[in-house]
Symmetry: C2
Subunit: 254 residues, 2 copies
Amino acid sequence: MKVVAIGAGSVATHLIGALHKSGCQIMQVYSRTIQSATALAEQVGAMAINHIYSVYSDADYYIFSVKDDALSEIITQMPKTKGTWLHTAGSVSMNIFDGFHHSFGVLYPFQTFSRQRKVEFSTIPLFIEANNDDALQSVNRLAMYLSDKIQLLSSDKRRYLHLCGVLSCNFVNHLYSLSERILQEQGIAFEALLPLITETVNKVKHLSPSEAQTGPALRNDERTMQAHLLLLQDDNLKQIYKLLSQSIYQTSKQ
Amino acid sequence: MKVVAIGAGSVATHLIGALHKSGCQIMQVYSRTIQSATALAEQVGAMAINHIYSVYSDADYYIFSVKDDALSEIITQMPKTKGTWLHTAGSVSMNIFDGFHHSFGVLYPFQTFSRQRKVEFSTIPLFIEANNDDALQSVNRLAMYLSDKIQLLSSDKRRYLHLCGVLSCNFVNHLYSLSERILQEQGIAFEALLPLITETVNKVKHLSPSEAQTGPALRNDERTMQAHLLLLQDDNLKQIYKLLSQSIYQTSKQ
């Protein structure tokens, strides 16, 4: 399997690294700056390029992992190639490729990637789609190099999955971050929270989140909620506290 | 160690169960209804009572695990006893006992408890305080039956810890719950989220949450955020999305 990587950011680094480990041949890594192209290319034995017209035309896959905003511009600049084009974005329709190439699709790894963290790719659910049966077979073949959790999902539904990723990962992490700041001000180490947040996740592996809900908002315990609002000095934070508490209580009554 | 349990709810069930397992003698379990007193009492070989004046006076510990609102009323109704009185509430001051008994304190297990879930008590951080050195030794002795993660914490600071528990557990679980509902409407199983939410927690075991932050709000990716807002039909949810996104972006610039 010959692969050209378009983009060298965090998703690309993990995805292309995993493909390399599984035996795919990474031919080239493109990035706008030669430095970041080189950083990834060196890890996977590929050539670093920073001109999109320099991509080889004979790879099996062209994997676009660039910022959503940059994607359409880079597609218009692509030279004619063989193989299948695919992107890895949660909220971009597959049809962004329409009219630019004959065989295209999406391979969306549903996970959070940070450069500092190694991720076991085989445990990541991959959501795929393609513009025809041949392209789908091709995307699926590539996906099987990475994980055995492969699922077909339309662009339309993928947007909702991405939204839930924002709620359950980005927003969740931000609540950890706000907690860390509050604890820091009280001289309490963030580590004190780890058993609680670990159990919060472990619970929903066995119970539905609606069954697992606890806390003052669920009990409509006004006294505790008022006391918490008094502790919060930031107006934005007060607003977040009120809205989420209301939402917990309303949801429990539905 | 002779213990009287005042309250038979979720925290009491886990805490008293763990003390019983560690070899403490649970003498009585009090609850307003004899049914719920009996349910816990039978598990720990204790007598069930539903009149507070029936509590024995010679226990070493009287552990109050009742709803915050009910606590002060029940304390005023307590007969004179020996031993140490303690409560397990995150946001109630230790001084609620002041004037009612000579030796009192707090033992706050910082964890989320659901009846359907077993919890390994030895891994739970216990935050304790007491009204004098003797009482503190006494509370500490009891805590050591439960966990080796014991930390001294004042009532004032404990309120902040409890607040962070609400943010990092109750609010987080609610975000899972909202995600579950959105996915359900799209015919996607909630299980698809589990690798992502597990990694989100695993990350903050090694990185600070502010370093671990990812997502469209952090990048100020207006296009994706607008697209997500269009997918959300509920006004309350739209508002939550906006506020948390703003907060992520503002925090990252501080």
